[in-house]
Amino acid sequence: MVPAVALEGITKIYPGVIANQDVDWTLEWGQIHALLGENGAGKSTLMNILYGMTTPDSGRILLEGREVLIASPSEAIRLGIGMVHQHFQLVGTLTVAQNILMGMEPRRWGLVDTAAAHERVRALADRVGLPIDPAALVEDLPVGMQQRVEILKVLARDARILIFDEPTAVLTPQEIALLGQVMQRLASEGKALVFITHKMREVQAVATHVTVMRAGRKVGVADPRKATAAELAALVVGRPLKAPPDAPASEGGAPLLRVENVSCRSSRGLEALSEVSLEVRAGEIVGLIGVEGNGQSELVEVLAGLRPVTGGKVLLAPRSGGTHVDLTRATPRARREAGIGHVAEDRLRRAVLKPWSIADNLVFDRFHLAPYARAGRLDHAAIRERGANLLARYRVKAPDAQTAVGTLSGGNQQKVVMARELDDRYHVLLIAQPTRGVDAGAAESIHDEMRALRDRGAGVLLVTNELDELLALSDRIGVVYHGEIVAWRARGTVTREELGRLMIGGRMTGDLGTPA
């Protein structure tokens, strides 16, 4: 059988980096082909070549046995190749139907026929099993729904080869399960799917084939139904990964952060939290999980001083001990000075300035303090030194600390944020989605740093969508549902299945499917 895609001897060299070296790779119809590798291993370059975003220095691309030149994404789309982007390429102020049919709208008397457009989107959505309201504005939709729009957009252009670039990074476990079903359905229709991911569990759940890349080369293939998650991870990283330490739950020491009956509103003015109380003690990691939009993001913002409360109190024990200080109305700066660090969930919106260098971003929260500021002037030497040190310690992949953060991959940007915040300046850390878009090796080191911080006596509040991460790190787990914490569980006393049920309000709903 002629494969859908055959790449032969693909080499792509950027100044200073070999992105792909002599890569041979085939994709058959009906496959769900997982492409694994660390950030910077060359898998995205390979897919960018297939999608026409860049051209190889040497090598051939065969589409159904015919050699093709793919000079641009529009060329790729014409050839039946579609990409579901990690960062959605959608226009928020347009409707679902307008986004899906952009540039190919049905017309009537020279005008867009909205009714026909909605009908077409509805028919397509029903056929692939991704129901959606064609008239809804994209910006009003939760992330999982926005991804549906992205997928439908690709399918509306008759793509037969679909590339999913880290599609699960921003999804809840329920949405991931549903996405898996949709991918399997598409594969059973004979389409060829490529799946870029860092999560071994998902590979095992849906992939039929696995190719592993490291440092620009194809280093192996595996059968996802036979290989274990640990074996796959070892292949990716090039060494066996440590199993998460199976230590008993930390009891924790004195309560550092006390949240008492806190309520707040969402950005839309609806009640997002209602009278939430919790404690983070010294030397413990408290993990919160919930389906996106249930208030956990707002809780972190309230604690960081970025969102006002409508009621309740936020109290912090000073680093030196003693009575708690009331920080309920304190500014973000005052909270940082009091010792609360924060890894924001949306790093590009909040946590980094892309045009700034790594070194400048690493002092973003402290450039007004000694030794970086002395007598009203910046000490660039001190800033550079911190940059170089943390660059090495967190193994950020960049030529040097003067590199602009905007040119780094998402995973390396996240390492920069982590390096800045996981610092002894802070004794309480608010950490949201610490390993979103981060590869297994880097995630392991981020987790190690978080545990080390806890073991030094800091209190950590972790908010994550990843059950594996939650279970590996948390000493106590709280489940957030509809703006309340509906259940607390100690480490080791709860299963993934139970958490999944609690996250959707303790009931199983057919629409969301079974939790992963």
């Binding site: 792509k12 995205s44 946590a351 300035l353 450039f367 910046l378 780094l408 991959s409």
Partner: protein, 374 residues
């Protein structure tokens, strides 16, 4: 290397603008060589012409630095024209109401008074933004009109000097900025303006406050998250921006006009300075050659009108072409850099487009700025 390429592109843009301007002249039936020759001669043809160009450049440079500071903080201060006028007002009052002060001291007081009134004038829109979220583009432009009318009335009624012409009294001799070159109007304000350019560069890239300003300008949400006092930074930068505009007015008054007339004191320096700042990519050093170019066009226009019979209004057309070509060049460069960044990032997952370059490395910006001047 990169700085050289940028310099070459900027120069190419300016040349393309002049060529296009030449085409416009030719189409309008003028002798292009005559016109451009007279323009050049008027701007740089004699020591006095050069001095006049630098005299024109001084307020333009200071006002453009005011615009640049605002834009670095993410604020579009369109009120520079009004703040310039208020600076002149503060300076003239301090200049004649305080006779008998020692010369040098009086001059400093005049400049400080101008700067303070410009800052105070900008502080009101700044407060309105911080308190009510009123957009500075609207409020600062409104404050321009208030300033025009206020100064017009003051000059006609309470501050009307001797004689029938609507103008204030002259400031004391001791408050004049010293002349640098005998038999010209070139005054010490020119050196002050260059020093302010250096000072602004230092502020932005070598002080914590400058770092805060740049972070707020790039992304106020991120700045807030990182603990920068966003409101304070915004209000402070807009007030300082107004202070620089006021200083520009004070320098013009103490160096050239010596009294405030009802109309024609600013001669549009405040509005031109917005273009100059954009032309210099809001970098204090790159603004220096940009201000020189605009000043040369301004001061050459008169001779062009006399010798080649070309309306000096054509200069506005030339300036517009310069802005157009520089903007186009900047757009092209952004596109090139975006592609380069995407290539560099292609080993990683595709990220959203990189934002326009931030001349974050003072050294690179400095080289390009000084290079353009040479």
């Amino acid at each position: 290397m990169n700085a050289f390429r940028n310099l070459a592109w900027s120069l190419a843009a300016v040349l393309a603008a002049l060529l296009t301007g030449g085409v416009v002249l030719a189409v309008s039936g003028y002798d292009v060589a005559d016109a451009l020759g007279a323009l050049l001669k008027g701007a740089l043809g004699s020591p006095n012409a050069v001095a006049e160009t630098l005299v024109n450049m001084t307020p333009l440079l200071l006002a453009a630095l005011a615009v640049a500071l605002g834009l670095r903080a993410g604020l579009f201060n369109i009120g520079v024209e009004g703040q310039f006028l208020m600076g002149g007002l503060g300076a003239v009052v301090a200049g004649y109401a305080l006779p008998g002060l020692p010369g040098g001291l009086h001059m400093l007081i005049v400049l400080a008074a101008g700067m303070a009134s410009g800052a105070a004038w900008a502080a009101v829109p700044a407060w309105m933004k911080a308190r009510f979220g009123a957009h500075e583009v609207i409020t600062t432009i409104m404050f321009n009109y208030i300033a025009f009318r206020l100064v017009g009335w003051l000059v006609r009624v309470p501050l009307h000097g001797p004689g029938s012409i609507p103008q204030t009294r002259y400031i004391a001799e001791g408050a004049h900025l010293p002349v640098l070159l005998a038999d010209t109007r070139l005054h010490a304000g020119f050196l002050l303006a260059l020093a302010v350019a250096g000072g602004l560069w230092w502020l932005l890239w070598h002080t914590p406050w400058g770092m805060a300003i740049r972070s707020v300008g790039l992304n106020p949400e991120a700045a807030e998250y990182a603990g920068v006092r966003v409101v304070r930074t915004l209000v402070g930068s807009l007030a300082l921006s107004g202070g620089l505009a006021g200083l520009a007015g004070a320098v013009q008054l103490a160096g050239v006009d010596h009294r405030l007339v009802e109309e024609g004191f600013s001669a549009g320096y405040g509005y031109d300075s917005i273009a100059v700042s954009l032309l210099g990519a809001n970098h204090p050093f790159a603004i220096v050659p940009a201000a020189l170019l605009f000043a040369a066009l301004r001061s050459g226009a008169g001779l062009m009108q006399i010798e080649a019979d070309v309306s000096s209004q054509i200069i506005s057309v030339l300036q517009a072409f310069v802005i157009l070509f520089v903007a186009a060049e900047a757009g092209l460069r952004r596109d090139r850099e975006f592609k380069a960044a995407r290539k560099a990032a292609a080993v990683a997952p595709p990220s959203p487009p990189a934002p326009p370059q931030d001349p974050n490395l003072p050294a690179a910006g400095a080289t390009s700025g000084q290079g353009q001047e040479a």
